[in-house]
């Protein structure tokens, strides 16, 4: 071979197979370490709302209507439940409608409030005055005027809400229950 001639082109000079193996392992480890450092905070950040009352209102009784507007034995009337103060993640708002209730007075003068949330999957039930029954528009569950289950896929009757009459006003406490369970568990 003459002096000054370029060296013959050699195959990729990757050193020994063990060095290649080391580099591969080290690269994967570095990548894995960066991924792991990121993965933990990402999971925590994404899962933050799980099990947390992100939307909440003080569970105090809500002034829904005048007690005198109820006639004993008459069909239930629908009232909106307007909370004084609702916290929704970063927002705090006053006078927010948080739900609705059907209120009636029994013949012996007891005031009853039923949540409008169907215990099957959470649609809003409406009272049918002709049939004297609550009907759910979504999956045809039916309940009598007292909230007892008559037909359909619901696993329990309508949910009664805590109610009291004070100074002539009907005060209702808004409670949400888990849907599609036979027993009432507040959420």
């Amino acid at each position: 071979m003459m002096r000054g001639m370029p060296e013959q082109s050699s195959p990729p000079s990757d050193g020994g197979a063990s060095r290649r193996g080391f580099l591969k392992t080290a690269t994967v480890l570095i990548g894995g370490a960066i991924g792991a450092v990121l993965a933990i905070p990402i999971v925590r950040f994404v899962a933050y709302p799980v099990g947390r009352k992100v939307v909440r209102s003080a569970g105090e009784p809500i002034d829904a209507m005048a007690a005198s507007a109820l006639t004993p034995g008459a069909p239930p009337v629908r009232v909106e439940l307007v909370a004084k103060n609702v916290r929704d993640a970063w927002t705090v708002a006053s006078d927010v409608t948080v739900g609705a209730a059907w209120v009636s007075k029994t013949k012996d003068g007891k005031v009853v409030a039923l949540s409008s949330v169907c215990p099957h999957l959470g649609c809003a039930v409406a009272f049918n005055a002709d049939k004297k029954a609550f009907k759910c528009p979504c999956h045809k569950s039916e309940f009598d005027a007292g909230g007892k289950r008559l037909a359909g896929p619901a696993k329990r009757g309508l949910d009664p809400l805590p109610v009291e009459v004070k100074n002539g006003r009907v005060l209702i406490t808004q409670v949400r229950y888990r849907t599609d369970t036979p027993d009432r568990e507040p959420v």
Binding site: P6, E7, S9, S10, P11, P12, S13, D14, R20, L23, K24, A26, T27, I30, G31, A33, I34, V37, L38, P41, I42, R44, F45, V46, A47, Y48, R87, D88, A89, W90, T91, V92, A93
Partner: protein, 571 residues
């Protein structure tokens, strides 16, 4: 395992793709000089991930944006960490992009046949700056709001279509919901799509022409040492990524993520500063005034873009050696030095500007208060600024300013001054020494009360007794009972005052529970009640003007004042 990969290979042909991706030949061997592009890809990927994560919480509206960012920053688990990575990551990208371009320039890698690769890179730099500009506004805090106003204001100075351009940039006549929804859409949809497109072209062109080895090596020498991308270069890339990532983590922890100012306040007079990489332009504008300012503001970016884009076409010599290209490198070096100097000047001017520093300190206080209120009470739907209305006592302060301040503060007072220290021991002492003083009954028609003249020890006792009536928990019981003795005897207070709450019709007001929340709530309703000032009263009755709840808030406000120190001028 191999059965599964064989099946996958048969259906997809993925091995050929991997081979193309990883078995790239690198003539001259792997090098740390080549890591910048890979680090940039990694950092951009990190921006994508953290950006999507932030979008899980962020709400792009003028009324919600600040509140949602404060929620990320102060409430969501590790929100500050994610947001900090995104914020500091942007800075890291600008630095890495700068280094990448410098390396390319020094290596002469923009030369034929890689002119288009370089030009695509310059376009991507412009995109990065557009990302920075649009992202800066999104928190809708003071800095972002005011700095961006300056930027869109510059657009408004464009010749001819300036006004239309500004209205397009800010989406309408004023900053509002449309400004933020469009900045958001640009930042998270338009710019990323463009960037992905350009990155793809950039990498494709790079792979077409291969790496640009260091100058002055013969083809034979380069062919003599060829590495494959995987694993030798990837390992170097990974090390560089890990170093950049470690620095990013360290900065993020040291700064506890990105800052968040108080919510944007269009009424404030905020000293706006842009992000550090816009500081050179910001500083440059200080030296030009009038129409020249507009020329510089709009012209400088154009000049920089033309120089960078034109570089491969000006520097056409065949040698990539820096020594052969000193002329062009000198232009770039002058640019880098100029940018560096302007940046340093900008920061050092701010550092020595006492007024600006005071303003920063004040705005940091505002920010802390706003964020604490937001975390504790939430932000009302009216928007970020409304967070200040959630402060306990805010309503009372507002009522006081509306209904009371006219007569009880300032120089045109009609009644005693009410401010910090009112009804404190020091205030009572000063009052008893000079009831008709200007700070007390001076401005009123009540001048019958004589200064109390007692020996120091007895004077202390009377002060303590009056102080105790306010309901103060720290009153000294022994002093108080001595004070009561003096009240009924030698102090001669009893001549004009009662101290039992019930008695009416004395010459002076009944001092029972004077200055307590209950007494003040009733007193404000009807100061002319026979228990208090009767016929001497000139203060309006607020029974019909303020609800009992509001009067109580006001009374509590007055007790908060009592706990504050009395300004020394009144002692």
């Amino acid at each position: 395992m191999s059965k599964i990969t064989d099946w996958l290979e048969d259906r997809t042909g993925y091995r050929a793709v991997l081979s193309t991706a990883f078995d790239e030949r690198i003539p001259g061997g792997a090098s740390f000089a080549y890591v910048f592009g890979s680090v940039l890809i990694f950092m951009l990927g990190l921006q994508f991930v953290t950006g999507v994560l932030l979008a899980l919480y962020y709400s792009p509206s003028a009324s919600d944006a600040w509140a949602s960012v404060a929620y990320i920053q102060d409430q969501a688990a590790v929100g500050w960490f994610i947001r900090g990575l995104h914020h500091h990551g942007a800075s890291a990208i600008i630095i890495c992009a700068g280094l990448h371009m410098l390396q390319t320039a020094v290596w002469g890698a923009y030369k034929k046949p890689r002119e288009v690769t370089w030009m695509v890179g310059v376009l991507m730099l412009a995109l990065l700056l557009a990302f920075a500009l649009t992202g800066y506004l999104l928190p809708w805090d003071q800095t972002g709001y005011w700095a961006t106003k300056v930027a869109t204001g510059i657009a408004g100075t464009s010749p001819g279509v300036g006004e239309q351009l500004q209205q397009l940039a800010q989406s309408g006549n004023e900053y509002g919901n449309l400004t933020i929804t469009r900045f958001f859409a640009l930042h998270v949809f338009v710019l990323p799509a463009l960037l992905i497109g350009l990155v793809t072209v950039h990498i494709w062109l790079f792979r077409r022409h291969g790496v640009t080895p260091r100058w002055g090596k013969s083809d034979a020498a380069l062919e003599g040492k060829v590495d494959l991308f995987w694993p030798k270069q990837v390992f170097r890339d990974a090390v560089a990524m890990a170093i950049v990532f470690a620095i990013l983590l360290a900065v993020n922890f040291m700064t506890h993520g990105a800052g968040l100012d108080a919510p944007a306040d269009p009424a404030s007079n905020f000293a706006a500063r842009p992000e550090w990489y816009f500081r050179p332009l910001f500083q440059l504008l200080k030296y030009f005034h009038g129409s020249l300012e507009h020329v510089v503001a709009l012209g400088t970016p154009v000049v920089v873009a033309v120089v960078l884009l034109g570089l491969p076409f000006a520097d056409r010599g065949s040698s990539r050696s820096p020594r052969a290209r000193l002329k062009y490198l000198a232009v770039l070096a002058a640019g880098v030095v100029g940018i560096g100097m302007l940046t340093v000047l900008s920061f050092s001017e701010d550092a020595s500007n006492k007024k600006y520093q005071a303003q920063i300190a004040e705005s940091e206080k505002q920010a802390d208060k706003a964020r604490e209120l937001a975390a504790t009470y939430g932000v009302p739907p009216a928007g970020g600024m409304a967070v200040f209305t959630t402060e306990p006592g805010y309503r009372a302060q507002k009522i006081f300013a509306d209904k009371c301040a006219g007569c009880h503060t300032g120089t045109d007072r009609q009644g005693p001054a009410i401010g910090p220290g009112y009804n404190s021991r020091a205030w009572i002492r000063a009052f008893l020494k000079n009831p008709s003083g200007d700070e007390f009954f001076g401005p009123t028609k009540i001048h019958k009360m004589k200064p109390v003249t007692l020996e120091a020890k007895d004077f202390d006792a009377v002060v303590e007794m009056v102080y105790a009536e306010t309901g103060a928990a720290d009153a000294d019981a022994a002093l108080v009972s001595r004070g009561k003795e003096l009240f009924d005897n030698d102090g001669n207070c009893w001549n004009c005052h009662s101290i039992d709450w019930e008695t009416t019709g004395d010459v002076g007001p009944n001092l029972g529970r004077r200055g307590s929340v209950d007494m003040l709530t009733e007193f404000i309703a009807d100061p002319a009640h026979a228990r208090w000032f009767g016929d001497n009263n000139a203060m309006p009755a607020f029974a019909d003007k303020l609800s009992e709840a509001d009067r109580r808030l006001l009374a509590e406000h007055i007790l908060r004042l009592q706990a504050m120190p009395l300004p020394t001028t009144q002692n």
